[in-house]
Point group: C2
Chain length 282, copies 2
């Protein structure tokens, strides 16, 4: 596994691989602190492409001024070991200056409207930071496919729109949410939770499962589904709802009736930790 | 000369050329209505690259609601003939839908601060439109170099920042202003001028030359240079100043003293036509 630190090296390698013939490159952009959810993305990339590149970059522009950029978990040695054990060919580990040569208040990529919905509403500037850094990574690596987890479902919607709009050549591939045996969606931020908070956090997946069950039973009305979701969620008084929403997965606009492909998404604060979970309804 | 209409075709050709060996691609983005200024860019690309691609696209997002998008000159047949006579290999002529598949209110690229200076101050949204469409063209064509005229000096500053910030692989090459024998800078918009306005428009190049002369004589103080420029400009009462500015060419911020590389730029309205001119001081 090669560890590359500059855009020039990464692009040079990508172009050499593409020029050499039928190679395909799968990029998995991550912020490190890798867990089994990331590993599932690496395996999907390994299965779908001849070469797998993983980026590790805690992107400052997607954190708000009062968010957890400074204390976001970093675990470079363990990340290297996991990436290598999953058969990654390249680990791309740029510095902030490498991706933001003129500072972080520089050229940005934004998807209007979508960037203000769901997490974008409670985290102003978050999605601008995400679309900007992913655009840079796709421009640098020129991958055939880039892999993201469905756990960040709104992010996926933004990135699909961004790549389509900017006419990037990369296909965005979405992989299922990976959960602990009790249902908690894997997240690097789970490391922040105390044992008590870890138990409280189960209300997110419990609410998601409840809504999936109701839809499977035939309930389609958003008003009903959201009312039940709020009622279920309220059974855990220590978790504070940020949003509970039923939206079109492409536009992130609220729907009145759930249809196949509708996104049910929840975000909540447990202690000082913000957690998200969701389901794409079938 | 091949005429291509889709991003997929253009990218496929670019990648095939790059994969085939030591080919270099020069892209000249234009809005058509080609004149000798464009031809000088084609020749520079011809001299610097093995393959030359020219794009013709009147980009709607860089025009304000009360600007001349609808009546901007279009001359496809003449443009084809000029491009072919200058040895272009590819003419890229996308539709609006091809470059804006989700409409024009979609993902955009913006350079903060710079986008509000000079023409950006009087044409809100103009530079966002320019950086967005050029980013798409560079992502589609993956050229080694892209050629722009110094006449749009502020645009050049924005595009250099945009390509550096987004880590695009393309080098921005700037070519000198081409002028009529009486000094008028070539512009597709000169076609709007009546004979009387054509004469009035000479005040722009006359002002620029005057400032170049003063600097050559040793004057460096911005306050003095700008005062003289305004006085010279005022000798043509039919031309209305939009801006007269002495700025750092990289940041577009006003300077107090002219140094080599400082941009002296002027924009003015002659009749209903907005014209610009400038000099990079030596």
């Amino acid at each position: 596994m090669q560890v590359l630190r500059t855009v020039a090296e990464l692009r040079h390698l990508s172009r050499a691989l593409h020029a050499a013939g039928a190679n395909t490159i799968g990029l998995v952009p991550t912020m490190g602190a890798l867990h089994a959810g990331h590993a599932s993305l690496f395996r999907a990339a390994r299965a779908g492409c001849t070469h797998v590149a993983i980026s590790l970059f805690v992107n400052p522009t997607q954190f708000g001024p009062n968010e957890d950029f400074g204390r976001y978990p970093r675990a470079f040695e363990a990340d290297c070991a996991l990436a290598e054990s999953e058969g990654a060919d390249v680990l791309f580990v740029p510095t902030v200056v490498e991706l933001y040569p003129n500072g972080t208040d520089s050229a940005f990529v934004e998807v209007p409207k979508l960037s203000e919905r769901l997490d974008g509403a409670s985290r102003p500037g978050h999605f601008r930071g995400v679309t900007t850094v992913v655009a840079k990574l796709l421009i640098a690596a020129e991958p055939d496919r880039a892999y993201f987890g469905q756990k960040d479902a709104a992010q996926v919607a933004l990135l699909r729109r961004m790549t389509a709009d900017l006419r990037l050549a990369t296909e965005i591939v979405v992989c299922p949410i990976v959960r602990e045996s009790d249902g908690l969606a894997l997240s690097s931020r789970n490391a922040y939770l105390t044992p008590a908070q870890r138990a409280q956090a189960l209300i997110l997946s419990r609410t998601v499962r409840h809504i999936e069950f109701l839809v499977a039973e035939g309930e389609r009305r958003a008003s009903m589904l959201l009312a039940v979701a709020r009622a279920v969620f309220a059974t855990e008084p220590e978790a504070r709802i940020d949003y509970i929403a039923l939206v079109d997965w492409a536009t992130l606009e609220p729907v009145e009736m759930a249809v196949p492909g509708t996104l049910f998404a929840v975000a909540a604060q447990v202690g000082s930790t913000r957690l998200i979970d969701n389901a794409i309804l079938s």
